[in-house]
């Protein structure tokens, strides 16, 4: 965590020579603390002080990137325990695991659909991060080749050091750009060989131990061996121990600034004995601090809600996802077509827009600036009222677009209809359904029937 000005001052030469451009060392220290100056401006700072200051400004959880081709899964750089305190930054990547004792066909049949899976959510494309490949008595290199034949996404490789060495050499030979997998796992017995691999191929290394001390001991050894990119596997397999250990790790890194455990976490929900437990463990990993998540079971109906949960948890609470206020068109609307109105909260916008679009009927959709809040929340906060809606009608010149002035309010704010009629003389104010999902039938049965 950042040092205070006084703490920094103690590390400076205290000669007040002014060469940094500030009148005193203390003034310079204050500017450094506020990140308004660079340490390099002082020519006299000692190497020791430099090292201390740099270490103190390093993020409490190291950013580790696993990549391949244009794809990246990043974890780390987090600064809070609860998302409202700031935000969670790096969304954990979901990896589907295959095993090397499966045939190449089986491996590809499992890995390919998951790797290619894309689902759209509020205009964002969500996908799986990549594939994990685990040794289980088969041909590890062949398994890696089989995956690489159908996917150019990032990999997590889980095997002993010899098999990993061969697989990493094979990946170099295949030669996908930026192919930088995460390798698992260094333990008390093999950490030297794993450290060698990490350095030789410049790849991040997972350390695995059942205790915090065991983990810290391993990361210190790997750091001494010259490795920086480390990932932690605390060996938990239930919800209760996952929550406990992930929370403790996060607190140690962020609150205690305990450097030996300042690394992202990898979770293995895929180790669960059944699919429901795997699913629950995945939700825990996403909500409670994992950086990489390894799953054994993939179906779209599992991946979609998990990916949406991840989006939701990692949304910046200070910046609700919004769409631009304005007048949106669906199916080339004309002057006779209805005008729907809702707020600029993106989830609201996309729910409504998808339904209007799906109805196949022409319509206008007026998006009022409700500061990114949903209909009910905005209404309760006074950000979506008759006044604001009327303002949007004028601002976006809706009257120039329609001759038949019909505006449809969301059913949740039916109470606004009287006021809106007063605000918009000449308009017919209608109350639509409470839920977006009911819009198509409303358009067909109510609006079109008029």
């Amino acid at each position: 965590m950042a040092l205070t000005g006084i703490q920094i001052y103690k590390l400076l030469p205290k000669t007040n020579c002014k060469e940094c451009g500030f009148p005193t060392c203390l003034a310079f220290a204050m500017k450094l603390a506020a990140k308004q100056a660079e340490l390099s401006a002082c020519p006299y700072v000692s190497e020791e002080a430099k090292a201390k200051l740099e270490a103190a400004s390093a993020p409490p959880i190291r950013l580790v990137t696993v990549s391949a081709d244009g794809h990246e899964a990043k974890a780390g750089n987090e600064v809070v325990l609860y998302r409202h305190e700031k935000t969670f930054y790096n969304k954990p990547g979901l990896f589907l695991r295959v095993y090397d004792d499966m045939s190449a066909d089986e491996i590809q049949a499992k890995a390919k659909p998951a790797s290619e899976y894309v689902v759209e959510y509020v205009g964002i494309e969500l996908d799986m991060a990549g594939t994990a490949i685990q040794a289980r008595g088969g041909d590890f290199v062949a398994a890696v080749e089989a995956v690489r034949a159908v996917s150019d996404k990032p990999l997590i490789l889980i095997a002993d050091p010899d098999a990993l060495d061969a697989a990493l050499a094979k990946l170099q030979e295949i030669g996908i750009e930026n192919d930088r997998p995460l390798i698992c796992a260094a333990d008390a017995d093999n950490w030297q060989a794993m450290a060698e691999l990490g350095k030789k191929y410049n790849v991040p290394v997972t350390v695995k131990a059942d205790t915090l001390e065991g983990l810290a001991d391993l990361t210190e050894k790997l750091k001494e061996a010259g490795l920086q990119d480390i990932v932690l596997d605390p060996g938990v397999r239930n919800l209760s121990d996952s929550l406990t250990m992930y929370t403790v790790l996060r607190r140690l890194a962020i609150k205690s600034l305990y450097r030996p455990l300042g690394f992202p976490i990898i979770a293995f929900p895929g180790d669960a004995e059944d699919e429901d437990k795997e699913y629950a463990l995945a939700t825990m990993a996403i909500a409670k601090y994992a950086g990489f998540v390894v799953l054994d079971r993939f179906t779209p109906a599992r991946a979609y809600p998990l990916l949406v949960l991840r989006e939701n948890i990692y949304t910046d609470p200070q910046k609700p996802i919004q769409v631009l206020p304005g007048l949106y068109e669906f199916h080339n609307p004309g002057p006779e077509d209805p005008v729907f109105v809702t707020t600029n909260f993106s989830i609201t916008y996309f729910s409504v827009a998808n339904e209007i679009d799906g109805s196949g009927m022409p319509a206008w959709l007026l998006i009022a600036d409700a500061e990114g809040m949903s209909v009910l929340t905005a209404w309760a906060a006074g950000k979506f009222d008759a006044d604001r809606i009327a303002k949007a009608v004028r601002e976006f010149k809706v009257e120039e677009k329609v001759s038949r002035k019909r505006i449809v309010l969301p059913g949740l704010v039916a109470v606004l209809s009287g006021e809106l009629e007063e605000e918009l003389p000449g308009w017919e104010v209608k109350v639509g359904p409470r839920e977006a999902v009911d819009l198509p039938s409303y358009m067909k049965n109510v609006l079109a029937a008029e």
Partner: protein, 324 residues
């Protein structure tokens, strides 16, 4: 080198609430439900007490609902015309307690009446010995009319009555006070609003241990992050000693999850959404589970398969683990 486990010291605790009264206590319930009492954030057993697990209420209605997903009607369709039978089936399907939501109208569109509401509540109380919560349809005047009648008729049962909202809490609070029931205090995803309404209800004389906080939520994909963070913030405030936020939290993931398109609709949706039923159950499970992680004490759900899965989640989370 030993590592010091970081533990937080909290000055406050979640208040315990008792729902349902047994014959010895003046009711007819065969058991009661106790929630709350935690002295740490959710399930951090190593740091404080988690004396009671979160509980799951299954939501039933006083008549066959018009707008529930066909997937729900597959399960409940055979009992949906009889609140007693529905209550019994919900109990068999693992409910810890029941929520009866009263409809706005009867099947023919006539406004619901106090007589019908009382009849439905009586049937439920006879058919199942579980503690009961009863919520009005969500329209102030009718809510008051129906809930007052229910409250009188079930005096001493320690029901949870709702919905108390900022615009409409006085009548329901008064009748709950008069008849030894609890109330649910509902506000729109905001810490200060939640607190404010508890204060108003408490100012009328309602003891704090009979006020549950419903901070409301969106479903997964539809604003759950707001509900999630408001619950975390309320719980943090409670542990820091803010008495007006210390009530147990009640939340409605079932209602929210089952009204979104992902759960309601099986056809004409993107292929990437996958199998309808699998997705719908996962939607409800994910919404409920995430809210349990963020502090829910009572989750109200709708599908028995989701209920079973969330029960398994709760059971796992109640296992105390010492970090090492």
């Amino acid at each position: 080198m030993p590592i010091e486990i970081p533990k937080q010291k909290w000055s406050g605790a979640v208040r315990e609430a008792v729902i349902g009264a047994t014959p010895e206590e003046g009711g007819t319930r065969k058991k009661k439900v106790i929630v709350g009492g935690q002295t740490t954030m959710p399930f951090l057993h190593f740091e404080g007490e988690v004396p009671h697990p979160p509980v799951i209420a299954i939501e039933i209605k006083d008549r066959k609902p018009d707008d529930w997903s066909p997937l729900l009607m597959e399960v409940w369709g055979d009992v949906a015309d009889d609140p007693g039978a529905w209550a019994k089936k919900a109990e068999e399907n693992g409910a810890d307690l029941l929520l009866l939501t009263l409809s706005l109208t009867d099947a023919d569109g006539n406004p619901n009446t106090p007589e019908r509401a009382v009849e439905a509540v009586k049937k439920v109380l006879e058919a199942s010995g579980l503690p009961l919560m009863v919520f009005g349809p969500g329209q102030a005047d009718l809510d008051n009319e129906l809930i007052v009648a229910v409250s009188d008729a079930a005096k001493g049962e320690r029901l949870v009555l709702g919905i108390c909202e900022e615009q409409n809490y006085r009548t329901i609070t008064a009748t709950a006070m008069a008849n030894d029931h609890l109330v649910s205090s509902r506000t729109a995803m905001d810490v200060n609003l939640a607190k404010q309404l508890v204060i108003l209800i408490h100012d009328m004389g309602m003891p704090l241990d009979r006020i549950l906080i419903d901070p409301t939520t969106g479903a997964l994909g539809y604003g759950i992050e707001y509900g999630y963070s408001v619950m975390e913030r309320l719980r943090l405030a409670a542990l820091q000693g803010d008495t007006m936020t210390q009530g147990p939290m009640l939340i409605t993931p079932g209602e929210e999850a089952w009204r979104v398109k992902e759960s309601k609709v099986g056809e004409g949706v993107p292929e990437a959404w996958g199998d309808w039923k699998e997705r719908a159950i996962n939607w409800e499970v994910t919404t409920a589970t995430a809210l349990i992680y963020s502090g829910a004490d009572i989750v109200i759900m709708r599908h028995p398969e989701s209920v079973a899965r969330v029960h398994a989640v709760i059971q796992d989370l109640m296992t105390a683990v010492e970090p090492a």
